[in-house]
Symmetry: C2
Subunit: 216 residues, 2 copies
DNA sequence: GTACAATTTAAACGATTGATTGAAACGTTT
DNA sequence: AAACGTTTCAATCAATCGTTTAAATTGTAC
């Protein structure tokens, strides 16, 4: 039945999650109605509440479904490059790659690119439960990479590294959230579909920024 | 009458704009109703449509009211530092200061800080008219600073400078959009109210990123 | 085939949305 | 004080919102 499973159309739950992801990325959470989601998914209106209970629970599911794999890959890559350099200092380039690599590369897949656009939006959706949800999704990742930066960049205070981490996240989130912005502003000079090109420029910028001395 | 003007309470239009700015920053555009705005402003519901015509027109007015002064100051500072270095190369630090200085410093004023939070949100609100509105608000600024970077950083291609400009905007927008994120993640180690501290860290990170060599 | 659970369906609930109306209240000018 | 244009007011419009209900349908085990 595995072949049939692969060929048969996706579950109602999956159709709802995919449609919600697409519409949330385009119109935001408040700007997307459950009716629009179920219509886009081609399922009945009540199916959404039957499978997820509420719109808020659907939002949480849409986000956690994609964040979890990215987090796993980030932490796995980070641990690998920390172990590899157990003797000396871990490579800053490897740490940066472990953080922005999984996110940028996933944006190659068109379906995942939609989610990246959604993630950029999420950071500014300061609704009632969103801050707590963001903390649940990213607190472990933030803490681990902050610790790694402390090892790789001795001489910087904890506070300085918090700021640097924040700027790295900002540069990445902004770029992934609005791929059309680059295309617009460069009038076609850049190819936003090429993840390796994005990574090349972003890693150069971020690693230099992380190493930058701060006036005391 | 100038003294009386200064002391008397703000116009209905101003009360609506201030309330809209506050609520838009907290709940987004789709998440804020005209009723909530007029209630927060303490004016009648119909006043909003009387003075602005529609919710969309109100959004445009809320944004343009604050962006215009920032744009003016940015372009003024940029022209000043380009003239000062008419002989040699303009200082990259001065260009960065001209771009992020006005935005960050305005976030000292509590009222303006609300708008900065709103601006961070705007970049990811990709509604129907928002991309065009963003282009109207920032296209001149983006073009001018891109040209300035071409002068200050010879040896980089146009494309590379587009990416660097993009990362700078991202690092800045993300930081200004979620001042509570820094506070949360640092558990009080940083004081987000101190604009000069933010500027110090951001300028160090951004200038280093701008100067970074990109692998060919 | 029958019984039982899981799922989908159409229809409707009260609440809230952006927008509109016409009359009342306002400030200014004559 | 009378007349005028501007602004505010309460009331209401059709439309849409998230959610709920109960019946119809499907899938599964006996």
């Amino acid at each position: 039945m595995t072949l049939a499973d692969a060929l048969q159309e996706p579950t109602t739950q999956e159709k709802i999650l995919d449609a919600a992801e697409r519409l949330f990325a385009d119109n935001g959470f408040a700007g997307t109605s459950v009716r629009a989601i179920t219509a886009e998914a081609g399922v009945n209106l009540a199916s959404a509440h039957y499978h997820f209970g509420s719109k808020e629970a659907l939002i949480r599911m849409v986000l956690s479904r994609r964040v979890e794999p990215i987090t796993q890959e980030r932490l796995h890559l980070l641990e690998a490059c920390l172990k590899e350099a157990s003797a000396g200092l871990p490579s800053l380039e490897a740490i940066v790659e472990a953080f922005i690599g999984p996110a940028v590369r996933l944006s190659l897949d068109p379906q995942r690119a939609i989610f990246m656009r959604l993630m950029g939006r999420v950071h500014s959706e300061a609704g009632d439960f969103m801050p707590q949800l963001l903390h649940e999704l990213f607190s472990v990742t933030a803490k681990r990479f902050h610790q790694a930066l402390q090892v790789a960049l001795p001489g910087f205070t904890e506070e300085e590294l918090f700021w640097k981490l924040n700027f790295m996240v900002g540069a990445m989130a902004f770029t992934l959230a609005a791929p059309q912005a680059i295309e617009k502003v460069t009038r076609g000079h850049c190819d936003p579909a090429d993840a390796e090109t994005v990574l090349k420029h972003m890693k150069a910028f971020v690693t230099a920024g992380l190493r930058a001395e701060v006036a005391r």
